[in-house]
């Protein structure tokens, strides 16, 4: 997996001018670019390693430009929205908001040890102090009887 992709939205900081719309490489880019003031040439999508290029293809009006993108992380698809403020052709402010910053959503992560989920060791229930035990629900008498029948048939 290309983890550099996760850093792509922030590569835009290195340019002196706004080069183009934010986009994931192989995933479709969401959202649209909306400058706060009109005019402005939001040129075409560039690949991540070209984000540092400073050649401009047009002049950009001052204002805020916002783009959203999806990228792949070990947790799955994540979203980020980046707003760049332009003044006199110079980026004066950048704001990036990802899923985890949204107070209405929780970010879920695996417990990784060296990038691999931990292996269960377990503890004896008798050795720990708990009020309840939660596992799969117990099966009914009908089910249990049927299982016994199957076992008996298999044995005979």
């Amino acid at each position: 997996m290309n983890t550099q992709r996760a850093k792509y939205p922030f590569a835009i900081l290195t340019g002196l001018t706004l080069v183009g719309a934010l986009a994931g490489c192989s995933t479709a880019a969401d959202g649209d670019t909306a400058p706060a003031s009109d005019g402005g040439d939001t040129s075409s999508t560039t690949a991540p390693d070209q984000a540092d290029a400073t050649t401009t293809t047009g002049t950009y009006a001052d204002g805020d430009y916002t783009e959203s993108a999806e990228y792949q992380s070990p947790n799955g698809t994540e979203n980020v929205t980046v707003t760049v403020t332009l003044a006199d052709g110079v980026i004066t402010a950048v704001k990036a908001v990802g899923d985890g910053d949204n107070p209405n959503s929780k970010r879920y992560q695996s417990e990784f040890a060296g990038g691999i989920a931990d292996v269960v060791v377990g503890k004896n229930i008798d050795d720990i102090k708990v009020d309840k035990v939660a596992g799969s629900s117990l099966t009914s008498a009908g089910f249990n009887d049927a299982i016994e029948e199957i076992k008996a048939d298999a044995a005979s």
Binding site: S105, R107, V120, I128, A134, G135
Partner: protein
């Protein structure tokens, strides 16, 4: 109070059970038509629809016929039929509006993924209505807690019932557990069905979900077998633990508990 609860549980069973021939679900499985459901159905069908969308149709209330063809039906033959029935698409199967279900062909509904959790919530509401605001309802793996004193719940190891894989603190919420170990009756035959393949799933072997309601926690515990937690997190607010067939275990970041790894 006990009688009131018992009567309510019986009424729920009489509507939704696949295992009794006098239930509404059995009538729907025999004959197409329009059927009036009790008022509790809207919330249950609503949750199923959310899960259906959030899991790209992997969790579905239409796995009943598939389970029957695997042997898990009335009479508990537990012997698979020669041909497994595929799971029909929701869009092709029924319409549910204003408490009325309409079907064009016999349909076997199975609400095992979230039905018990829903019943736990219903019982909880009865207790609250009677002025009982501190309680724990334990429906064999589906727990609802209310009141001031949190409880500690051990997460049972799916391969060794004498062991726990972790412990969580539960306070004013529901914890529901799901695993493929008990309700299993042969090689590759257990009750957690991926509706998109019609097959029991084998990558995840146990899940625990914590949510505000047992309806959600129960439904999510099933969904966690079949969908990515981050994806589910867009539509639901929950914490979770899930264990894989290779013995590895995963948890949500903000889970109030610890894992024994």
């Amino acid at each position: 109070m006990v009688e009131q609860i018992a009567a309510r549980v019986e009424a729920f069973d009489r509507t939704y059970s696949r295992f009794r021939d006098d239930s509404l679900v059995s009538a729907i499985a025999a004959t197409p038509g329009t059927y009036r459901f009790p008022d509790d159905a809207a919330e249950l069908f609503g949750l199923y629809h959310r899960l259906y969308e959030a899991t790209d149709a992997a969790v579905s209330p239409l796995v009943g016929r598939t389970l029957e063809s695997m042997g898990y039906g009335r009479g508990y033959s537990l012997r698979p039929e020669a041909e497994r029935a595929p799971v029909p698409r929701w869009e092709d199967s029924f319409a549910f509006a204003d408490g009325v279900l309409t079907t064009l062909r016999p349909l076997v509904l199975d609400v095992g993924a979230a039905g018990k959790g829903y019943l736990v919530d219903i019982v909880g509401r009865l207790l609250v209505a009677a002025g009982i605001d501190g309680f724990v309802i334990d429906a064999s793996g589906d727990i609802l807690h209310a009141g001031d004193r949190p409880i500690r719940v051990a997460l049972e190891h799916p391969r060794d019932a004498t062991k726990a894989v972790g412990v969580v603190e539960l306070a004013g919420a529901s914890l529901c557990a799901s695993a493929s170990n008990r309700r299993s009756w042969g090689e590759g035959l257990h009750h957690i069905i991926d509706a998109t393949t019609g097959l029991p799933t084998d990558h995840v072997i146990a899940t625990w979900a914590i949510a505000a309601t047992a309806l959600e926690a129960d439904g999510l515990a099933t969904a966690l077998f079949l969908a990515d937690p981050a994806r589910l997190a867009r539509d639901f607010d929950f914490d979770y633990v899930r264990m894989f067939a290779n013995g590895r275990i995963e948890r949500s970041t903000h889970l109030d508990g610890e894992l024994f790894v």
